[in-house]
């Protein structure tokens, strides 16, 4: 079975986001970029499936600017076998919407015929939480989002999902789309030798036009602004003082 892992290049989760003064967006020039953390978990899970003999090839795919090559090299260094870059824009500030990403992925899947897609639950830049579900709809496949545990067993998978009420376990038909939640696994770091090896692994370059997918946005971004800032209050000296402040404020 082939496993396809879509990985997104996003602002590193440790970087303090700055909104541009003219309201045109978030400043991404000269900012540290990394693989979306949920996608690292997806790559890790795919590699573990391969190590367990349940998958024979792991293919990482990224859609966006050409710099997403770096993200794909990270996936290759972790242990993916090959990668596909689909260039869909040359502007680092243009985010390709989940619907367009899902349409491109659907075309890649038509060509590659994987038995499983492992994606992240949410990209930490647009916070959409949508691509996996959309892809599954376009393909008419089953979906198992927010996975906390995955057990692939022949023609089906048993997946435990993190939901508002706790955990839900479902059984889905293969092929399927699974999205990763934080507790699925702890991704490995790429070792130096593996980073070197990754440079020689195959990385195919395509464009959105190769797949005939229109990536123009459905959501026109009118403006991007800073949220209302919250001011720091006061430091209290003791529990007694805290209790009296809370009583004064009518909070308890």
């Amino acid at each position: 079975m082939k496993v396809l892992v879509p990985v997104k290049r996003v602002i590193d989760y440790n970087v303090k986001v700055r909104v541009k003064a003219d309201g045109s967006g978030v400043d991404l020039a000269n900012v540290k970029m990394s693989m979306n953390p949920f996608d690292e978990i997806a790559v890790e899970e795919a590699i573990r499936l391969k190590e367990a003999g349940k998958a024979d090839e792991v293919i990482a795919v990224s859609i966006g600017v050409k710099q997403a090559q770096e993200t794909l090299r990270t996936a290759l260094a972790m242990g993916a076998d090959r990668a596909i870059l689909v260039e869909a824009t040359d502007d680092v500030h243009t985010d390709i919407e989940p619907l367009a990403v899902a349409k491109i992925l659907a075309k890649v899947i038509e060509e590659e015929q994987p038995g499983l897609v492992l994606c992240g639950k949410q990209a930490i830049d647009n916070d959409m939480n949508a691509t996996g579900q959309m892809l599954s709809a376009l393909l008419g496949w089953s979906q198992a989002m927010y996975a906390n545990n995955v057990d692939i067993d022949g023609d089906h998978a048993v997946v435990t999902r993190e939901v508002d009420g706790g955990l839900q376990t479902i059984k889905v038909k293969m092929p399927t789309i699974i999205s990763t939640d934080l507790r699925l696994n702890e991704p490995r770091y790429a070792s130096l030798p593996n980073i070197m090896k990754a440079k020689k692994k195959p990385l195919d370059q395509k464009t959105a036009a190769d797949y005939g997918v229109d990536v123009s946005p459905r959501l026109e971004i009118l403006s991007t602004s800073e949220p209302e800032a919250r001011k720091a209050g006061e430091i209290v000296g003791s529990v007694d003082e805290l209790v009296s402040k809370l009583k004064e404020a009518g909070a308890v």
Binding site: A137, Q143, G165, K171, L182, P217, P227, G233, I235, V236
Partner: protein, 308 residues
């Protein structure tokens, strides 16, 4: 404009707070029809009909919808979608699972976690863990939207909208429910509680998390946790507050042993009053706290519990 609102229903019971908040947001868009789907949902439908601003309730009772599997529920929603300009729901994990599937089937882009309705096509939503707010205008014929409930007040009740029974859609037969692991609790539900007490890595162990729970019980509060506390096994996953957990905005939020990473702040910075207890005076949580107490939580929390 007519809006189809997917009610939040668990085991036949309507999640009143989440649904009534979504009704407030949806009512800005047009006449609201509420869709209730479940193995049994007549009671939920009757209750939804009492929410002010609801024009009609559709009730789809079928074993197929008992566990809100995305493929089956999405097929049901699409089967009735023709009549509506907007398909909306409160941004629960169920809705986040189902709505993007619906949107893709309708060739629309989903708009998730909406915090404000500007007009029928234009919405505000937070991005980058709430570090920026985007205003977007949808070009799609049908809009598919989830509303962040913590920013809308619940609609009142006293209404008596008509309830209409509808048939099930075809079964896509792609997935089956196996089991739920739901902790029973007498505490208020996290996203609707007036007071939340949350613990972080600083609490140190699952056993010591009892300190947090005791304080919560004293205050009639819900219990929350940081990602680090959940990852370390101190607290269950459904207690996680933050960018990728639950978003809460209670009257009072008490953060204990939590440093205040932006991913955590994303889930609680709209709380009315924030209290932080942390032994590190440099902890970023103090930059958003109304009242900060620099102290060892193992001394401060029991003392607070006693003096409240």
């Amino acid at each position: 404009m007519s809006v189809l609102l997917i009610a939040e229903i668990n085991d036949g019971t309507l999640a009143m707070d989440a649904t009534a908040k979504a009704v407030t947001a949806a009512a800005k868009l047009g006449d609201v029809t509420v869709l209730c789907a479940g193995e049994t949902c007549a009671d939920a439908a009757a209750e939804a009909a009492t929410i002010d601003g609801v024009a009609k309730v559709l009730c789809a009772e079928d074993a197929l919808y008992g566990h809100r599997l995305a493929e089956a529920v999405a097929a049901l929603i699409v089967s009735v979608a023709d009549d509506y300009s907007h398909i909306v729901a409160p941004a629960t994990t169920d809705a986040k699972n189902i709505l993007p599937r619906v949107a893709a089937l309708l060739d629309a882009m989903v708009i998730t976690d909406v915090t404000a309705v500007v007009d029928a096509d234009t919405f505000e939503r937070p991005i980058y863990a709430g570090n920026a707010v985007q205003t977007v205008k949808s070009k799609d014929d049908k809009k598919v939207i989830s509303f962040r409930t913590s920013t809308f007040d619940a609609a009142g009740t006293g209404n008596s909208a008509a309830v209409e029974t509808i048939g099930a859609a075809d079964d896509p037969a792609l997935s089956e429910w196996v089991a739920d692991k739901v902790a029973e609790s007498d505490r208020p539900e996290l996203t609707s509680a007036g007071v939340v007490v949350s613990g972080g890595r600083g609490v140190g162990s699952e056993d010591d998390f009892a300190l947090i729970e005791k304080l919560a019980d004293k205050l009639g509060a819900a219990v929350g946790a940081s990602r680090a506390a959940v990852d370390s096994g101190f607290a269950p996953n459904d207690w996680q507050v933050g960018q990728t957990g639950k978003v809460v905005a209670p009257e009072l939020y008490i953060a204990v042993g939590i440093s205040g990473a932006i991913q955590h702040l994303a889930g609680m910075k709209d709380s009315k009053i924030i209290v932080a207890i942390n032994k590190d005076e440099e902890a970023p949580i103090f930059q958003v706290a109304d009242y900060g107490l620099v102290a060892d939580l193992f001394e401060a929390v029991p003392e607070l519990n006693e003096k409240l």
